[in-house]
């Protein structure tokens, strides 16, 4: 019979808390990253990386975990989006998927259409202020106002107004045709 040290018990507790958080947030973190990248493999990779960072460098005491988690995920997603040549690769992967060499796609025409819609929405988001685009992505990934507020460092009581503003901007750009170059 052996007694575990205090330290070991604390470590185990920390690990258990981390695993709970992982299980509770995995799908939502993936959802945010998928919306940003439009790519399953990339979104899963970035989600794993987000949790790895959380485990290796947990946030300071005064920060909430959910806020930290989604902020890191969003930043990773944006960095991936900005990386050079990404779009080209993405398109080719889309071609690959339709080929069923990687995964089955029973309907190439539908796939094209879906891709088209995605690209259009992503283009509009890229024309918006980054914070507004993030707000829409986070909300549509199912985050609560509280979680959004923690992620974007805004007051929870202002999320509603910010959302309305972002939605109006989205619709304005959409109706304008959304064919302007992103302004960096």
């Amino acid at each position: 019979m052996s007694f575990r040290s205090e330290e070991e018990r604390a470590d185990q507790k920390k690990r258990a808390a981390f695993e709970d958080l992982f299980l509770q947030n995995w799908e939502k973190v993936y959802g945010v990253l998928f919306r940003l990248t439009g790519d399953r493999a990339e979104a899963e990779d970035l989600a794993l990386e987000t949790f790895l960072r959380l485990w290796q460098r947990p946030p300071a005491q005064d920060q909430t975990l959910a806020g930290w988690l989604y902020r890191v995920a969003t930043n990773l997603g944006y960095n991936a989006l900005r990386s050079a040549g990404r779009r080209w690769r993405h398109e080719l992967d889309a071609g690959m998927e339709a080929l069923a060499v990687d995964s089955g796609s029973p309907n190439p025409a539908k796939e094209v259409e879906r891709n088209e819609d995605r690209q259009r929405v992503q283009q509009i988001l890229s024309q918006m202020q980054e914070r507004q685009a993030q707000l829409l992505i986070l909300r549509h990934s199912g985050l609560s106002y509280q979680e959004i507020a923690e992620t974007l460092n805004v007051a929870p009581t202002s999320v509603g107004a910010l959302l309305v503003r972002a939605e109006k901007e989205f619709v304005r750009l959409y109706e304008e045709g959304g064919d302007h170059a992103p302004d960096g």
């Binding site: 299980l23 995995w26 799908e27 993936y30 998928f34 919306r35 439009g38 399953r40 493999a41 990339e42 979104a43 899963e44 990779d45 794993l48 790895l52 485990w55 050079a84 040549g85 779009r87 080209w88 690769r89 398109e91 080719l92 992967d93 889309a94 071609g95 690959m96 080929l99 069923a100 060499v101 990687d102 995964s103 089955g104 029973p106 309907n107 190439p108 025409a109 539908k110 094209v112 259409e113 879906r114 088209e116 819609d117 995605r118 259009r120 929405v121 829409l136 992505i137 549509h140 609560s144 106002y145 999320v159 509603g160 107004a161 959302l163 309305v164 109006k168 989205f170 619709v171 170059a181």
Partner: protein, 398 residues
């Protein structure tokens, strides 16, 4: 006093705590003005929500279950190279394969494919050649909304699936793979690494060319002098992609991940993943040539020359390239110059190419891919590190 947009929006999203919620409800009952604004905000939210739904993961894009992801995390978290060899870094290998496959079947995602390779006679791959394309041209094409809209319209109206794809299947050995895929599947003779064999089903579809739409695409590329021949209008093109086999040797995150997704069976991938180091991953892909059938009146060289000019090639170069290539037997791989380098080689008794990204354009280790065609089957060996290793494997197949 009227309610703010902020409160109304939060009320719509059911994000208000109870006393606040009731207060708003009672106000709304007495204030038609605020009730109307609520309706407006609700309509706005719905409109945006409808568009944002396009970004939502589809059924095939759902993540692996959280419990499996956690197990994978626990396994990876202790490995120091976590980020260096993730699936993401491996993907350009697949991209190379995708380029081949996409071009070969003239799939419809890009004007490149649609124009340069879209209208071949009976197409059976017997050899492979390289077409360098300016990567800026490609980027510009892709960023052009009009073009991508026209291309998707060109195809979305007229594609009929004649044999639908089914999910990839894992098989225990090469003979089962041969049986399932319907051709003789080859293996790396001297491998002592664990092999992971997956058979993908392939698919077949037909589409009918709408000349005016195709012409519209050409015109929106900015070159008004290019005219497609009249006789392509209404041409019925059928594409049949046979089943293909990919074999992953060693520790291959992409394959493991595919397996995870397909079978949700993490345990099976664990020994391989921990036994081999990252640089031990090699992927051998073999796909019999796709068959593309077009009416005999169509002249592939003529169309290719038009397509190449649309991609920015001079009329003279386009003419000479398209005459040089036998379009009904050659797999043309477009290479974005400046991003991917290539070298022609003799491999497996055939002519092939080694493709590698130009240094500094991607993260992680250098990736390469060896591509060749033999007896009507397209082969590719992809890996990281020294291409000589991939070449050795390519020359050691049985």
């Amino acid at each position: 006093m009227h309610l703010t947009d902020n409160s109304l929006r939060a009320y719509l999203d059911q994000q208000l705590p109870e006393p606040e919620r009731s207060r708003i409800e009672s106000h709304l009952q007495d204030c038609p003005e605020c009730a109307e604004r609520l309706a407006e905000l609700s309509a706005l939210a719905k409109q945006v929500s409808l568009h944002m739904a396009a970004l939502k993961p589809g059924a095939a894009e759902a993540p692996r279950p959280a419990s499996l992801a956690l197990r994978q995390f626990n396994q990876k978290e202790t490995r120091p190279m976590f980020n260096i060899f993730s699936k993401r870094n491996l993907r350009p290998l697949w991209v190379t394969i995708a380029v081949i496959a996409v071009l070969a079947i003239a799939l419809n995602f890009q004007p490149v494919q649609a124009l340069a390779a879209g209208f071949l006679g009976l197409f059976r791959v017997q050899q492979v050649t390289i077409l360098p394309i300016n990567s800026n041209t490609i980027q510009n094409l892709q960023n052009n909304q009009d073009i991508s809209k026209s291309v998707s319209q060109l195809f979305s109206d007229s594609v009929t699936t004649t044999r639908a794809a089914t999910p990839p299947q894992q098989v225990p050995d090469a003979s089962s793979a041969s049986k399932l895929a319907g051709f003789e599947v080859r293996q790396w003779k001297d491998s002592n690494l664990p092999a992971d064999i997956t058979v993908s089903s392939g698919q077949a579809f037909t589409f009918t060319v709408n000349r005016s739409r195709a012409q519209q695409i050409l015109t929106s590329l900015g070159n008004n002098s290019l005219q497609l021949p009249q006789n392509i209008d209404g041409a019925k093109i059928s594409v049949d992609i046979p089943a293909g086999v990919s074999t992953a040797y060693g520790d291959c995150p992409t394959m493991s991940a595919m397996r995870l997704r397909e079978k949700a069976n993490l345990a099976a991938s664990t020994p391989a993943a921990s036994a081999a180091s990252a640089s031990d991953c090699l992927v051998l892909l073999q796909v019999p040539s796709p068959a593309i059938k077009t009416p005999p009146s169509i002249d592939p060289a003529q169309l290719a020359a038009i397509g190449l000019q649309a991609l920015g090639m001079s009329a003279q170069d386009a003419q000479s390239f398209s005459q040089k290539v036998n379009w009904s037997t050659t797999l043309v791989i477009p290479i974005p110059t400046g991003e991917v380098s290539y070298q022609d080689i003799q491999v497996d008794g055939a002519k092939g190419y080694v493709l590698a990204p130009v240094q500094g354009t991607g993260p992680g280790n250098a990736r390469y891919s060896v591509v060749w065609v033999k007896n009507g089957i397209i082969y590719s060996v992809a890996g990281t590190g020294d291409p000589a290793q991939g070449l050795a494997v390519a020359n050691d197949l049985q």
